[in-house]
């Protein structure tokens, strides 16, 4: 009996090695359902994971909106009093601060996801015994981090800008607050800039991308675990 024939008996129904990846599947719908279940069952931990990115993004978007609203306020004051305020440098520094806080939030997510992986050693091992490929495990963890990141940053961006809008209503009025959305939140030396509405969208993207980046290492670690090692651990 040649080696090829006998391989055929174990992997019955498989046409060549390339076909196997397609023979074992995790449909996106089921992956999303599992992600939802995982997030809701461990709501406490999920909230902590999301709150890191929530706070970071809230801070960043508050700073950005503050910068835009400040420009509106300055232009109003120029019209009224003819006084020019220098605010640019201060705003630039505070945006750096916000970026640093995002970095801290990212490290927080790495930590939180690593704990989540440790907590689920046995579950991951079991899934592998049921035939899960490494890529399924990676996908599940990245999806979870992505969903938490998007939710956290959406909430953070809304609350961050919301608070700033309330803070500036007294100074620039409703029309000023609305105008701030079209005003540059970030200005570059060349005079070009990013309007607030665009900065808002970019902030959301940053939140989602950072969360997924933060989950890469924990997800990889989870996927690389040999199934037997996962089954031995008692958590």
């Amino acid at each position: 009996m040649s080696e090829n024939d006998s391989r055929g008996s174990v992997l019955e129904g498989i046409k060549g090695r390339a076909g196997i990846e397609k023979q074992i599947v995790l449909p996106w719908s089921r992956a999303l359902q599992m992600t939802r279940e995982n997030i809701f069952v461990r709501l406490g931990r999920s909230a902590i994971t999301a709150s890191g990115i929530f706070l970071g993004i809230a801070f960043l978007s508050a700073v950005l909106f503050g910068a835009a609203a400040q420009r509106v306020a300055a232009s109003i004051e120029v019209e009224k009093l003819g006084v020019q305020q220098a605010t640019g440098e201060f705003q630039a520094r505070i945006i750096w601060l916000a970026c640093m806080s995002l970095l801290v939030a990212t490290v927080g997510i790495v930590n939180s996801m690593l704990m989540s992986v440790t907590e689920r050693y046995k579950e991951i091992g079991t899934m592998k015994c049921l035939g899960a490929l490494d890529s399924f495990i990676v996908r599940l963890f990245l999806l979870e981090a992505g969903v938490l990141g998007v939710l956290g940053s959406a909430l953070g961006a809304i609350i961050g800008t919301g608070v700033m809008m309330l803070a500036y209503i007294g100074r620039v009025g409703w029309s000023g607050v609305l105008k701030a959305w079209m005003t540059d939140a970030v200005q570059f030396g060349s005079g070009s800039g990013i309007p607030m509405w665009l900065a808002f969208i970019v902030t959301l993207l940053i939140g989602g991308v950072l969360s997924i980046l933060a989950a890469l290492y924990p997800a990889w670690r989870a996927a690389k675990m040999p199934p037997a090692a996962a089954l031995r651990s008692e958590f």
């Binding site: 008996s9 174990v10 599947v25 046995k122 079991t126 049921l130 037997a228």
Partner: protein
């Protein structure tokens, strides 16, 4: 279709762990042939190497030396995805601690391997319900593992192990966390599945109740096969044991 007499063969199988600089031979040159459709119990005290043997046969861990053949295919030659395929379709695992996915219902647990195998949702749900009925849990399909007793969880795990009609069922101390009566029920259920579905059952255990249903018992001590008992020898011994218990 495969027609080999032996579904599992191990040759010179050794596993050596290094613990604190000391070499521990968990398995030492084990040669074991298991026939298709057989119910084999691997018996031995804790630390005898039976779980290690279980892991090797199931492709869950790599041997230090030697080979495991499943249907005459050397497991070490399989790629990661071929191994996953083997675990998904050809082997059903049952564990001492049941290992159900805690966030999923009984039915979702049973259908998960079918989802991996590419079954449509409807087919998977039908088959999952059928399997749950077979193990006597048709009514409790919507319960989470925490809402089920140990015996019921193990029944769900057995239904899950049979999800993709495997050729081999590997059970690692399936009755280890169960009381006497529930353990007996699980053994009976495994034996029934073994006979009805013509599936090979390999069970690592130190539960003597298991001897009753086994075609062969492999006794392991210090990583080596001590002796192998055939069915006819077993009958005799069980008679004596039953008398002792009364």
């Amino acid at each position: 279709m495969s027609v080999y007499e032996y579904i599992v063969r191990t040759k010179d199988l050794s596993k050596i762990y290094t613990l604190g600089g000391v070499e521990v031979r968990a398995l030492d040159q084990v040669a074991l042939d298991i026939r298709r459709g057989e119910y084999v119990s691997i018996m031995g005290p804790s630390g005898s190497g039976k779980s290690t043997l279980f892991n090797m046969i199931g492709g869950l861990d790599k041997p230090t030396r030697g080979t495991v053949f499943i249907d005459e295919v050397d497991m070490a030659q399989l790629t990661a995805s071929e191994l996953a395929f083997l675990r998904c379709r050809k082997i059903g695992y049952i564990f001492q601690t049941f290992n159900l996915i805690p966030v999923m219902t009984a039915l979702e647990n049973v259908t998960l391997p079918m989802v991996f195998a590419g079954l449509t949702t409807d087919d998977a749900l039908d088959k999952g319900m059928e399997l749950l009925k077979t193990v006597g849990l048709g009514e409790r399909y919507d319960h989470k593992p925490t809402e089920l007793s140990g015996g019921q969880q193990q029944r769900v795990a057995i239904a899950r192990a049979f999800a993709n009609d495997p050729a081999i069922i590997l059970a690692d101390e399936p009755t280890g966390n169960l009381d006497l009566k529930t353990g007996k029920e699980i053994i009976t259920l495994l034996k029934r599945m073994n006979e009805d579905k013509k599936v090979t059952v390999i069970s690592a255990t130190h539960d003597l109740k298991m001897i009753d249903v086994s075609d062969r018992v492999v006794w392991i001590r210090d990583g080596k096969i001590e002796r192998i008992q055939e069915r006819k020898d077993i009958d005799l011994q069980v008679g004596v044991m039953a008398g002792e218990e009364q």
